[in-house]
Amino acid sequence: MTTTTDRAVLGVWTLLITATVVSVALSDNAMSRTGTIAILSIAFAKVYLVGLYFMELRDAPRPLRYVVAAWCIATWAALTGIYVGVC
């Protein structure tokens, strides 16, 4: 039913926790533009990983995977665009 091993799922969890710690470390009160873009990028990469490995989109019909990927890219682009002032 799924091509993902238990070990891969645990590996993804470890990566997600690590990414969370990195995001917190990147955050400071200096309102750094680079830091904010990095934090937002990490967040949406985490969402897609949860989609692929926890929600099992790796094995789902492609259109559903594409819809979730499109949501990640569009929402990331909109938030980043608003933050930097191009939207």
Binding site: M1, T20, S27, E56, A60, A78, L79, I82
Partner: protein
């Protein structure tokens, strides 16, 4: 020409939708609704970055980080629970219970955080940041509570070690919803606590 020797050792199975189409329509719809809220928040923040920063400093990043770890770990247990339900190992119910416990930890942590803010005289009318904070985190909290009810139900469904196809579908539906709760928090946490 394909031969047995160069065939993939782990051929992919046929695509499988985890849960029913209707659940996924709800999940994607909810994600789009939250995306609109995220954009609206970011737009307001751009207009008053110093005011937002001052209010964000009243938040404890550690509380938000712990809640992130709780939801990610809850999602791990639930992902394993789905796999256990399919494999008929008899452990699915326990794994859904562990996912529920992570959700409970999140709710307690959030209640303490909200309670602390109210005790300090901070509420949704304090300023624009806290209006968004209480609204977005509050709507998300309702999702967590709904997800815990779903996990409690899945724990009952998965009590028998071998589930039929319909029951597996129910498990997949509920698990997909629980992961949605995780997904929304993964974006909310940096927006509310980390992005200035």
């Amino acid at each position: 020409m394909a031969t047995a020797a160069n065939a993939p050792t782990h051929p992919r199975t046929a695509p499988h939708l985890p849960g029913e189409t209707g659940v996924w329509v709800f999940i994607i719809g909810d994600m789009v609704a939250f995306a609109v809220m995220f954009g609206s928040y970011m737009y307001e923040q751009r207009g008053a970055p110093l005011s937002f920063l001052a209010s964000q400093q009243a938040l404890d990043v550690t509380v938000g980080t712990i809640n992130t770890v709780l939801l990610l770990t809850g999602s791990l247990f639930v992902a394993y629970g789905v796999r256990a339900a399919r494999a008929g190992t008899g452990r699915a119910s326990v794994l859904f219970g562990l996912g529920f416990a992570c959700g409970l930890g999140f709710v307690i942590n959030k209640a303490v955080e909200f309670g602390g803010k109210f005790a300090d005289g901070i509420n949704p009318t304090t300023d624009t940041f806290f209006a968004y904070f209480f609204f977005m985190a509050g709507v998300h909290l309702l999702h967590v509570l709904g997800g815990m009810a779903v996990l409690a139900y899945l724990g009952r469904v998965a009590r028998r070690p071998v589930l039929n196809g319909k029951e597996i579908r129910v498990v997949e539906n509920g698990a997909s919803y629980w992961h949605l709760v995780d997904v929304l928090w993964i974006v909310l946490f940096p927006l509310l606590y980390l992005v200035h």
